[in-house]
């Protein structure tokens, strides 16, 4: 009886810990998304150039690779994550200005579409509570194939290949959202800063890929 109570208590503790990680992840994710959006607006209004955008993204990736893993277990990880998301938001500015000049509805549709896909997938993973850890290898190999294709297309400059890459990115990022949410639910990810960073990157990549797809196929131009 006593052992039963102890194991029940441990199970409750585990559920509470998971819920806390989930709550903190979504809170941090929403704050970083707002901050990133504000930084993108700043970049758009100041007419940030492509060179500055690339430098901003490179600095953000550098922080993501070398600083965030070292600070994610302390409170210092939060300002680092805000710096990363802010710089990535700033880096989006030239692309957003480009699409706003062509067709502003592309940007709002891509933004809304990304939001709907994220909410739908998160809701699906949270309600079914399925374990998507089996997709890890598949998603990583898919990501590597997409990177190889993107690298090749820098030199080949094929518009059709760019669209195929964008389509594949939307699919892989959808899989990653399921995988990451499932990892939080099942205790595979216990650090809310790292969880928020990976979900933010999935959302950002999905938004950019949707922009490409809607910009290419959408509209009458």
């Amino acid at each position: 009886m006593n052992e039963h109570n102890i194991s029940l208590g441990r199970a409750q503790e585990s559920v509470l810990a998971t819920n806390k990680v989930l709550k903190n992840t979504y809170m941090l994710l929403s704050m970083t998304l707002i901050f990133s959006g504000v930084m993108a607006l700043v970049g758009m209004s100041t007419g940030l150039g492509q060179g500055a955008s690339l430098v901003s993204s490179l600095v953000a990736i550098g922080l993501l690779w070398f600083v965030l893993p070292r600070t994610a277990n302390s409170s210092a990880g939060i300002p680092v994550l805000f710096a990363i998301t802010g710089l990535l938001g700033l880096g989006l500015a030239p692309m957003l200005n480009f699409y706003m000049a062509i067709n502003p509805s592309v940007v709002s549709t891509a933004l809304g579409g990304t939001g709907v896909i994220f909410l739908g997938l998160s809701g699906y993973a949270l309600t079914t509570r399925k374990d998507f850890s089996f997709m890890g290898g598949f998603l990583m190999v898919g990501l590597m194939v997409v990177l190889v294709a993107a690298l090749a297309n820098i030199f080949l400059q094929m518009p059709v290949m760019q669209l195929v890459i964008s389509g594949a990115i939307v699919m892989i990022m959808s899989g990653l959202i399921l995988y990451q949410t499932s990892a939080i639910i099942h205790g595979g990810e216990t650090n809310y800063i790292m969880a928020a960073a990976s979900l933010f990157l999935s959302l950002l990549n999905m938004f950019q890929a949707l922009l490409h797809l809607l910009g290419a196929f959408g509209g009458d131009d």
Binding site: L54, K130, F134, M135, L151, L214
Partner: protein, 59 residues
């Protein structure tokens, strides 16, 4: 080849180098999914494809 293309290529190569160990680890250690597990992934993905087609028609 302009410097923007070179910068993008460097960024992508960096990502590949960074992702490679995680990929190797995931391929070796990820549990195998059953047919049912994969269907639980493929069905929402098909819904997303339909949703994107809808978005393209809306723009």
């Amino acid at each position: 080849m302009n410097w923007m293309a070179i910068g993008s290529a460097v960024l992508i190569i960096g990502m590949m180098v960074f992702i490679f160990p995680s990929m190797r680890h995931a391929v070796k250690n990820a549990p195998k999914g059953s047919m049912d597990d994969w269907m639980g992934f493929i069905i929402p993905l098909a819904v997303i494809v339909g949703f994107i087609i809808l978005l393209i028609n809306m723009v």
